[in-house]
């Protein structure tokens, strides 16, 4: 099983634990966690080794949307950002996905099953992060295989 470095950003230690517990239950990868208590803290801990991020919205100092915008502004368009938040209105969902550059949106409270549905597309069968490029290559070889058969 692949090792994945995940950044979990939430001002609640309990919620960071809940996110980690749900991810561990999925058994899709072996996660190593970096935790941050708000967006500002997360910016200080974010580096190129981080492969996926789980980000709360409503936090002191810097919100999850502001943090996500900062990450995207640095030019990192490929890292999956999963917004995990209590905000439920459609306007907020739209803002997180469009303005914040988040890839997925999970509302609290969540279950491991809900988490799985949101993130499974971002992992390949070996537990590695499936980037768009890799998907395209797989698609190409899949179709090439059909053409050759």
């Amino acid at each position: 099983m692949a090792k994945i470095k995940a950044l979990v950003v939430d001002d609640s230690k309990i919620m960071r634990s809940a996110v980690k517990r749900a991810l561990n239950q999925l058994m899709i990868a072996e996660f190593e966690y970096v935790e941050a208590k708000d967006g500002e803290d997360a910016l200080g801990k974010y580096n190129e080794e981080i492969q996926i991020m789980f980000v709360d919205w409503n936090m002191p100092n810097m919100t999850g949307v502001e943090f996500s915008q900062a990450v995207r502004a640095e030019g990192n368009e490929s890292i999956p950002i999963i917004m995990v938040t209590a905000e439920k209105s459609m306007g907020k969902v739209d803002k997180a996905l469009n303005e914040g550059g988040a890839n997925e949106y999970i509302t609290k409270p969540f279950t491991a099953d809900k988490m799985h549905k949101a993130i499974s597309d971002y992992f390949d069968d070996d537990g590695n992060i499936a980037t768009e490029g890799e998907d395209e290559e797989e698609d190409k070889s899949f179709f090439q295989g059909i053409l050759n058969s």
Binding site: D11, S12, K13, I14, M15, S17, A18, R21, N58, M59, P60, T85, A86, E87, K88, S89, T107, K108, P109
Partner: protein
């Protein structure tokens, strides 16, 4: 009465019924999801006695009005919530318990904000706080419109006080 028609909060005798119903619906849905038990609204059971437990505070607000939500959770129910939420009982006196009740209040406020928007109250939720203690009694200065509700499930009971006031 719709919230859109409210000019001055002090002219109201009570919280508009549409808002009270949406908040009640949010409490039942949110806590039903968290604890996995059917939750009931207990009518006319306001529980005016002092609380030995923890209070979670959060608001849904806009530039004109603030809807304050205060969850009054007895000690036994708070410990039960920790068991179902994180899979083990937290010591009632721990910092983590305050964190948990703050987070539960935050989750409730998110649902309330989305729900009351349907009846015209568009607002955002504040960061939550939690207060632990014994012999706690809630008093509201200036007597703004207030509604206190009791909820119970097979293994829990708690109260929610909501207050509608002008944003300062």
């Amino acid at each position: 009465m719709s919230i859109k028609t409210i000019d001055r909060i002090e002219n109201l005798d009570e919280i508009p019924v549409e808002i009270a119903e949406k908040v009640q619906e949010s409490v039942i849905n949110t806590f039903g999801s968290i604890i996995g038990e059917e939750l009931s609204y207990i009518d006319e059971a306001n529980g005016d006695g002092a609380l030995n437990g923890i209070i979670g505070n959060v608001t849904v607000f806009n530039s004109e009005h603030t809807l304050s939500l205060m969850l009054a959770i007895p000690k036994e129910t708070a410990v039960y919530f920790s068991e179902v939420f994180i899979g083990m009982p937290l010591p009632f006196e721990s910092d983590d318990m305050g964190d948990l009740i703050g987070e539960i209040s935050n989750i409730l406020a998110g649902d309330v904000a989305a729900n009351v928007e349907k009846v015209g109250f568009r607002g955002q939720s504040s960061l939550p706080t939690a207060t632990r203690g014994s012999d706690l009694t809630l008093f509201m200065p200036n007597k703004p419109p207030t509604k206190k509700m009791k909820f119970a499930s097979a293994n829990s009971e708690f109260w929610l006080t909501m207050v509608l006031s002008e944003s300062k």
